[in-house]
Symmetry: C2
DNA sequence: GTGAAACACGAACGATCGTGCTGACTAATC
DNA sequence: GATTAGTCAGCACGATCGTTCGTGTTTCAC
């Protein structure tokens, strides 16, 4: 029934439970460490040491370092979804959603979900000058994030919660600028007041939080 | 007369003209390459190859890689002063100066003074999670840059060119956020429209350009 | 013009990088 | 319970890393 038809390429080697657990642990560490050491600066050896396994044992889970980097991005995306996107999506579309996305983003910086701030801002800054599959994936995720912000902004304008004047692209550019600045400033100096400044700026762009 | 008193530690080994030229060439290449490869990712060997000299010959100019990095930052600062700060300082203090600083910054991105965008945004993102002398120097320069922006904003408020409402710290936080976003977006996607969005945002913060 | 010192090179160092291979061990399948 | 294959460690590889040293070569001060 649910077994793949024999004509289809299986391609997927069957996976053992302990292997799945190891791979998860590796990628959890990789996603968090990458915001500190960088996605390229993070070496297989140090990641293995940090995960408590041998270099070759760890490497057996991936076919190359680039594959490890891509898998790490995927894991970081899951973490971001769980910590930022999902909580914000409980809010109604429109201005509530837009504020929630911004607040949850700033909250995940403050809670240090990643020790180096926003994963995608960190590795994006690292790979913006390194064309290839890794940069592409990061670029795609950022576009999705911006798309989600823009959808909420459009809905807010449609509902009359926001003036139509700055079109959503411009508005979200400025919102995202404040969020990026919050990441950069807070990671560099560690002062929570630098997160608060972003909230003040958001209030000027979006008006005070609804409710 | 202008020779150092013999009791003073000479400390400074006398320098030959060709050596000075070599060192300048090294640091010019280093400052520009660092925005692409990263200040840590830039290796002595590749920098030597790019400069057209041997690895050991290049290294003889510095006592360690960290010293090379610090000298590179100093050189980048000189370039930034020449390309951004000096031109803007020809404008009168206040709103004119503030707009000039912003415009010259965006212009130096567009002219690709550094191939990887803003040097200090790039290496700042790399070293924000690496405490040490390099991070400190970067942090100090950013504070000076922000200080210059804030001084212009204060003068503009004093002159009645800007409302006193957002205090200079908050205002410059938002200005700098737009400039940082311009760097990040333009470096990642290469679309000049992303620089124009920053200008539009600046106009909302500062009002239209004077004159 | 001569001597001292700055300069630049080649060779080499120990360490670490990403990447393979081999072979025990062990969990899942029949 | 035997077979299969996923898991993971040990070892080793070529390359590259930052760094040092010794040795010619070139510039500059006297």
């Amino acid at each position: 029934m649910n077994q793949p038809s024999p004509t289809e390429a299986p391609a997927q080697r069957r996976q053992r439970a302990d292997g799945r657990r190891s791979r998860d642990a590796i990628l959890d560490n990789a996603a968090r460490l990458a915001t500190v050491e960088g996605l390229e600066g993070l070496s297989i050896g140090r990641l293995a040491e940090h995960t408590g396994m041998s270099k070759s044992g760890l490497y057996a889970h991936f076919t190359s370092k680039e594959e490890l980097q891509l898998a790490t991005i995927e894991r970081a995306q899951e973490i971001f979804e769980a910590e930022v996107l999902s909580p914000a999506r409980t809010q109604a579309d429109g201005l509530h959603r837009l504020w929630a996305l911004s607040d949850e983003f700033l909250s995940h910086l403050e809670r240090q979900v990643f020790p180096g701030g926003c994963f995608f801002a960190a590795v994006g800054a690292e790979f913006d000058t390194h064309p290839g599959r890794v940069k592409e994936r990061i670029g795609v995720f950022i576009e999705e994030w911006v798309g989600e912000l823009m959808a909420a902004a459009s809905a807010a304008q449609q509902a009359g919660e926001l003036p139509p004047d700055p079109d959503p692209e411009q508005l979200i550019y400025e919102v995202d600028a404040l969020l990026l600045m919050a990441h950069a400033a807070y990671t560099m100096y560690g002062d929570p007041a630098l997160l608060e400044r972003a909230r003040v700026g958001l209030a000027r762009l979006l008006g005070p939080r609804p409710d």
